[in-house]
């Protein structure tokens, strides 16, 4: 494949990725976790304040990287923010992941890069969480950046690549605590690749051609990057220590997962096939199948010939004495297996946590797809394989479309995990309509009496109201006399009902599947609202 064709096709892939990531970002209601991050970002936006919280919220990178986007859209307060502005950040980074695949051109060949990009662009899991205001997509971006610059460093040792590797490693750490799993998987994969090379080829353990000075530059860059972010740009130096102390809490959380405890094969079965009742079937088995082929191809004796055909240069991850065999695909294989195993063994599982190791699977799948076309000699077989692959890719794209634009908040979508019901938008609309009639407008008093799990994403939807109070138990919420609006979860509503008697009109709203909220509206105010005819 010549460079021009590759560039053209790569741009098409990138455009496809953007097409599934950018439109209608405000469509899905804010998830509990997104709202939490958004309100945290609101404090940084409005007051310039950020302090790393060692118990929740993960690393600081998401907030700081959202700032330029918010400023670009002239958003300077939490109230002025909207879903589109916030979700633009993961959407941009989600497409950016595909750009970073260019780092791997020499390691896996242009066709494999193209196929990996195509699969990443169309994967329902990748697209869904690229439209989700949490850390995961940024984390994957930095992982790919780290793997890519590390590979480049091994190929062309230089201070620049050492600094780039360190920067991406630092950003990984400043994004999610689970970066330690990825660092361990990368380290383990390097060791396993070297051992494999020793056993099968050279008879001795080869060492990467990376110089110690580059290692030091990389470590320094990682430390500085992490420190800058965790210290809130030098305002809170303690933040870096907190980031280390935080591991205690996260280890405990990972082990005692509660609601988020899922079986060992949760991630792989979720990707392979899932179907809920009469809903559509979802499957990314194409990617898994191609990854298996890619994994097997990584250990094929034909690698050398194939690599030469595709890249035109021998790769040098490990010393030149090691092998003429390809070591990069093996490294990716070992990395993927180790990362998948590590995340699978953790009892705490949520669908977005599959993304870090799924990136490895997608890289392997890209190599698998490229291998098929190299392996098949006869043209008609290549045509058949091409048609089958095209059908599979179309199916992936179709699923992505459905996941993001049709089943975006539907429990039948396997990626819509504890998703907020669209009914929350009706609650917000009702409160807006009532506020428009209230003499105090958006200074109208609203009391929210909900358990912690039932409170979010209410602070997001009530962000433009000046007087909103949150309590978890009604006796602590003070009096309810002349409070225009009270929002309660079912547990609190059960206790509040007899207290409020017929002074309030009550309405049910869905928060999540099986979780309802009750909106109590002052009876007099409600009747005025009805008379006014506004809903």
């Amino acid at each position: 494949m010549n460079k021009t064709a590759f560039r053209g096709l790569f741009l098409l892939v990138l455009a496809g990725a953007l097409l599934l990531r950018l439109p209608r970002l405000g469509l899905r209601p804010m998830h509990h976790d997104e709202a939490n991050q958004a309100v945290k970002f609101g404090t940084l936006l409005e007051k310039g304040e950020y302090r790393y919280d060692k118990t929740e919220h993960h690393g600081p990178s998401l907030y700081y990287l959202t700032l330029p986007v918010a400023w670009a859209f002239s958003k300077h307060t939490l109230a002025s923010l909207d879903e589109t502005t916030l979700r633009l950040v993961p959407a941009i980074f989600g497409a950016g992941i595909i750009l970073l695949l260019l780092f791997f051109g020499n390691g896996m060949g242009r066709p494999a890069v193209l196929f990996s990009g195509l699969l990443a662009a169309l994967s329902p899991a990748a697209t869904y969480f690229s439209r989700f205001y949490i850390q995961e997509t940024l984390f994957v971006f930095f992982i790919v950046g780290f793997l890519g610059s590390l590979w480049r460093l091994a190929e062309h040792p230089s201070t620049g690549w050492a600094l780039a590797s360190g920067f991406f490693a630092g950003m990984m750490y400043a994004t999610k605590e689970t970066s330690v799993i990825i660092f361990a998987a990368v380290g383990g994969a390097i060791v396993l690749t070297m051992i494999f090379q020793k056993i099968t080829i050279s008879g001795k353990v080869p060492l990467p051609k990376i110089r110690m000075i580059h290692v030091l530059w990389g470590l320094a860059a990682a430390a500085v990057t992490a420190f800058v972010f965790f210290s809130s740009f030098f305002k809170n130096p303690k933040g870096i220590l907190d980031s280390i102390v935080a591991f205690k809490g996260y280890f405990e959380k990972g082990g005692s997962a509660g609601f988020h405890a899922h079986p060992l094969l949760y991630y792989l079965t979720l990707l392979a096939y899932s179907k809920s009742g009469a809903g559509p079937a979802w499957s990314e088995a194409l990617i898994l199948g191609l990854a298996i082929i890619g994994g097997a191809a990584a250990f094929q004796k034909k690698d050398r010939r194939l690599l030469k055909r595709n890249t035109g240069r021998a790769e040098k991850l490990f010393s030149s004495a090691t092998s003429a065999e390809s070591s990069f695909p093996k490294f990716i294989f070992f990395f993927t297996v180790l990362a998948t195993a590590a995340f699978s063994f953790l009892p705490y599982k949520t669908p977005w946590n599959l993304l870090p190791f799924y990136t490895g699977i997608i890289l392997l799948a890209g190599m698998g797809a490229a291998f098929i076309f190299q392996f098949l000699r006869k043209d008609y077989l290549k045509v058949i394989a091409g048609l089958l692959l095209a059908a599979g890719l179309f199916h992936l794209g179709w699923q992505s479309f459905r996941a993001n634009f049709q089943f975006y908040a539907d429990p039948r979508n396997p990626y819509a995990y504890a998703e907020t019901s669209p009914d929350i938008l009706k609650l917000a609309k009702r409160i807006d309509g009532l506020a428009a009639l209230h003499p105090e407008g958006r200074r109208m008093l609203i009391k929210v009496v909900c358990g912690l799990d039932q409170t979010w994403p209410l602070p997001w939807y009530l962000r433009s109201f000046d007087r909103v109070g949150y309590w978890q138990d009604w006796p602590t919420a003070g009096g309810f006399e002349r409070v225009p609006l009270i929002i309660a979860d079912q547990d609190q509503a059960e206790k509040l009902g007899p207290l409020l008697q017929d002074k309030y009109q009550a309405e049910y709203y869905g928060l999540r599947p099986d979780v309802l909220l009750v909106l109590f509206i002052d009876r007099g105010f409600w009747e005025k609202y009805l008379l006014d005819g506004k809903k």
Binding site: G277, A409, D423, Q490, D502, A506, Y509
Partner: protein, 229 residues
């Protein structure tokens, strides 16, 4: 001795209360009525229903509904009667599911109509004195259907002789008038609507989405009635 007296006194009081209860029951129960025997599907969601005591939300006790008395000779007359709907192309299932006698909350037993205000209509193929209407929208999940309105008529277009027998549209979203009935959480017991002997051939049930999504669902509707007098 005293112990025996106390025991006898308690036993006498207990017997008296029991006899009085039976007498009271037989006096309040119309001799022309009998208890409506219902076959309920198995419950689908586990969780403690909340007893929210407010004037316009139905109290969910978690206990079985009490007996409901209907005129003697009342029968289920809606089974496999023709059903039409405002949404002619249901998203999931068929309108025939509404009267097919299958009340399971599992997938494959409900019809899903499009978003917004929708209705299903049952043609009883004759005039009846309606005793009770039992509706299951969807009981696999704790959800509330909005603007539930049940109307009956002898006109298939519901242009004349329309009687509203249930309406919990408290803000008149439907434009069919403000209803005073209560919003309720769907359970396997379904919602029993007292149709008070209203004479009609057609039964039309409205809803306007639910607290989980904007769609409208029906697992089953049962109409109990006696032939029109």
């Amino acid at each position: 001795m005293i112990k025996k007296a106390v025991i006898y006194t308690f036993a006498s009081v207990f017997c008296l209360v029991a006899v009085l209860s039976v007498v009271a029951q037989s006096q309040t129960q119309d001799p022309n009525k009998e208890e409506l025997k219902l076959q309920l599907p198995k419950p689908m969601f586990i969780g403690t229903p909340r007893n929210i005591k407010t004037p316009n939300l139905e109290i969910v006790t978690g206990k079985p509904r009490g007996p409901f008395f209907v005129p003697k000779g009342t029968k289920l007359i809606s089974l496999r009667r023709p059903v039409t709907a405002s949404d002619r192309q249901p998203v999931i299932g068929e309108t025939g599911f509404v009267t097919d006698g299958e009340k399971s909350g599992e997938d494959g037993y409900f019809v899903e109509l499009g978003p917004g205000m929708q209705w299903v209509q049952i043609d009883l193929q004759g005039e009846y004195d309606l005793s009770a209407i039992l509706v299951w929208h969807y009981h696999a999940q704790a959800r509330v259907y909005r603007d539930v309105i049940v109307r009956v008529s002898d006109d298939k277009d519901f242009m004349k002789s329309v009687t509203t027998i249930f309406n919990n549209d408290h803000d008149n979203t439907s434009g069919l008038g403000i209803g005073k009935d209560k919003e309720y959480i769907e359970t396997n017991e379904g919602r029993l609507v007292d149709s008070r002997g209203t004479k009609a051939r057609y039964v039309r049930l409205y809803s306007n989405g639910n607290t989980s999504n904007d769609m409208n669902h029906y697992v089953e509707v049962e109409v109990y009635a006696t032939p029109a007098k």
